[in-house]
C-alpha cells in the first residue's frame, strides 16, 4: 500500500505556480527521498501533505484515504518536522515534549521512549535555549515521534547541522523503517543526503516532478564514459568516427565516448596508437548520481527558458 499518494497536486501563490501537478507515490516502510533545489516547491508540497495549506487542485491521499476528509484521523498516524523544529526555548527538552504529549493525549511513557530513540535523555532537563543546533533537531524529531507515527515527514532535517550532526541524523533516520516499520518521507536539496538511505526518490524542480522511482532505476542511467587525451584531437576524432564510434570533442581538446566498457578502452587505445596518435590520457569514469540530478534539473531549466 502507498503511504502517500497525490493526484495532480497544484498550489499557486498569487500568480506564481509553486507546485504544478505533482503525482507522488510513496511506498510504505522505507525511506523516500524528495529532492530538489531550494525554492523548487518541496516545503509547499509538504505543507499540503500535512493539511497546513489547501491545494488549489488535486488531492492528497494518506494510507489510501483523502486527507481533506479525514484530516484528524490521518494526522494521528503522521509525525512531522517541517523546516527548523518549533520549540519553546523557555522550556526544558522534557517540557517541550510534555506540551505536545498533553495536546495529543499520548501516554506518559511516550516521552522516555522518544528521548531514548534520539539519545537526548541526559539533556532533557536543560532549557532548550541552551541546546545546540543538532540537539534541537533531534528534539524536533522526538516531537514528531511522540504519537508513534506510521509515516514521518521530515523537511530538510539536516539543514544547518555540522558533519557529525548530519551523520547522527542520517543514522537515526535509517533505523526508523528497519526497527519501527515507519515510512519516512524526507526532503533535501542534496542528493548525497538521501542516496545512502532512500529506496525511492522523487526529483522536483520548479514545481514539477522530473523523476520518480527506485533509486536503482536512476542508478541504471549511470553509465561509464571514456575520456581520451590525445595529440591532434580533431584528426583522432575523425579516425574514431571512421571506426564507427560516436565521439564527442570537448572544448578542452579531450574526447569522450559515452557508454564505454573496459574492452572499448583497450580497442580505442590500440586503434589510435596504431594510427600514430600519441595517447597521453585514457580514463574510464563514472557519471555520478549528482551529475544525473544536476543534468535533470538543468534540462528542465533550459526547457523552461526555451518555451
Amino acid at each position: 500500500m502507498l503511504a502517500i499518494e497525490t493526484g495532480r497536486l497544484s498550489k499557486q501563490f498569487g500568480k506564481r505556480l509553486v507546485v504544478d501537478g505533482i503525482d507522488l507515490r510513496v511506498p510504505s516502510a522505507q525511506v523516500y527521498g524528495f529532492l530538489g533545489p531550494n525554492g523548487a516547491g518541496k516545503t509547499t508540497t509538504i505543507r499540503m501533505l500535512l493539511g497546513l495549506i489547501r491545494p488549489d487542485e488535486g488531492k492528497v491521499h494518506l494510507f489510501g484515504d483523502v486527507l481533506a476528509e479525514h484530516r484528524l484521523a490521518l494526522l494521528k498516524r503522521v509525525g512531522a518536522l517541517v523546516e527548523m523544529p518549533s520549540l519553546y526555548p523557555h522550556l526544558t527538552g522534557r517540557e517541550n515534549l510534555e506540551v505536545t504529549r498533553r495536546l495529543i493525549g499520548a501516554p506518559a511513557g511516550a516521552i522516555a521512549r522518544v528521548l531514548d530513540i534520539v539519545a537526548l535523555a541526559k539533556d532533557a532537563h536543560r532549557l532548550v535555549r541552551e541546546y545546540s543546533l543538532g540537539m534541537r533537531q533531534r528534539l524536533g524529531l522526538a516531537l514528531a515521534l511522540l504519537n508513534q507515527p506510521e509515516l514521518l515527514i521530515l523537511d530538510e532535517p539536516t539543514n544547518g547541522l555540522d558533519p557529525a550532526g548530519i551523520h547522527e541524523m542520517r543514522d537515526l533516520i535509517r533505523r526508523l523503517p528497519v526497527e519501527f516499520g515507519i515510512t519516512v518521507f524526507l526532503s533535501s536539496h542534496l542528493l548525497g543526503e538521501v542516496e545512502q538511505i532512500a529506496g525511492n526518490i522523487g526529483i522536483i524542480h520548479a514545481g514539477r516532478l522530473l523523476f520518480q522511482g527506485p533509486l536503482a532505476e536512476l542508478r541504471a542511467r549511470q553509465e561509464k564514459r571514456l575520456l581520451i587525451g590525445v595529440s591532434s584531437p580533431e584528426e583522432a576524432a575523425r579516425c574514431l568516427e571512421a571506426a564507427n564510434r560516436t565521439v564527442n570533442l570537448r572544448d578542452d581538446g579531450t574526447l569522450t565516448i559515452a557508454g564505454a566498457s573496459q574492452a572499448d578502452a583497450v580497442d580505442v587505445n590500440r586503434l589510435l596508437v596504431n594510427q600514430g596518435f600519441d595517447v597521453f590520457q585514457l580514463t574510464l569514469s563514472q557519471i555520478t548520481l549528482e551529475d544525473i540530478f544536476l543534468g535533470l534539473t538543468k534540462n528542465a531549466e533550459t526547457e523552461r527558458s526555451d518555451s
Binding site: L50, I53, L75, V82, L91, G105, L143, N147
Partner: protein, 303 residues
Amino acid sequence: MTTLLRALHAESLKLKRTLAFRMVFIAPLLVALLQFFMGLNQRRAAQPGFNLWETIFNASLVIWAIFMLPLLITLETALLAGIEHGEKQWKHLLALPIPRSAVYASKFMIALALTLLSTLTLFGLSLLNGYALIKLRPELASSAPPEFLKWLFVVLKLWTASWLIIAIHTWIGIRWSSLTLALGAGVAGTFFALFAASARIGKFYPWLLPMNSLNLIEGEPRDTLALLIGGLGGVVAFGLGCLEFTRRDSDEPETSMSRRFLLAVGAAGIALAILGVAMQSAKSDPAPPKPSSVTPADSRPGS
C-alpha cells in the same frame, strides 16, 4: 471537549518561566501599592460617612477598569500568541491531530483565566490593604465591615465586561506576528477610551465596558449594557475570530497589516463615526426649530 481540556493543560505548561504569568501578579500589585500609599495619606477619615472599604475598592477598581486591565489584556494576549510566533510553532501545532478551533479556544480561555486570576488578586490585595491600613491608622477604621460578596460581585462583573477586549486582542495577537502591532492596537484602544468616555459612543466602546460595569455615573446605570456587549459580544467576537482562524489557508501569521485590511478598518471607523453623529443629532433635537438652522455665511464669522 476532552481535546479542549488537553489543549488547556498543554497551554498552562507553556506559561512556565514567562513574563505573561508574572504580569498576572505584578499588575494588581502595582495598583494595590498605589492605593496603600494613598490610604496612608488619607485625610478624609474624620469626615462623616467615610467608608474605608468603599474608598479603597472604588479607587482600585477605577484604575483597574479604565487603564490597567485593558493594558494587561493587550500584553497578555500578545505574549500568549508570541509564545507561538517565536519559532513558528503554528506549523507544528496545526499539523497535530487536534482541531484548529481547540488551539484557538485554548488561547482565548487561558487569556480569560489569567485576567480573572489577576482581577481576583487585585480583590484580595485590596482587602489586605484595608486591614493593613486599619492596623497602621486605626482612625481609618469604618464602622461597617467589608462587604465581601458585594465587591466580589462587582469585580466579577468588571471582568465579564472585558471579554470583548480579550476576544479582540486574542484575534489580533494570533493573526499578526508583530508584537508592536498588537501593543499599538491596545494602547490606541485604551487611549481613545478617554475621549469615548464623554461621548455617547462610550456606552458601546469596548475598552470602556469594564469601566461602565462599575456604574459610576449617577442616574445612568450602564452595567447591564456593559455586561451584554462585553460578555455576550465577547463570546460572539471569539466565535468570529475562531471561524477566521480555522478557515485560514495558512499556517503562518501575517507580519503586518495589509493595505486592504487597514482600508477596511478605516472605512468601518468612519462609518461608525458618521452613524454616531447622526444618532446624536437625531436625539438631541427632537423638534428642530427652524431659526436654529444657520446659513453658510453665518457660520463663517469674520470672513
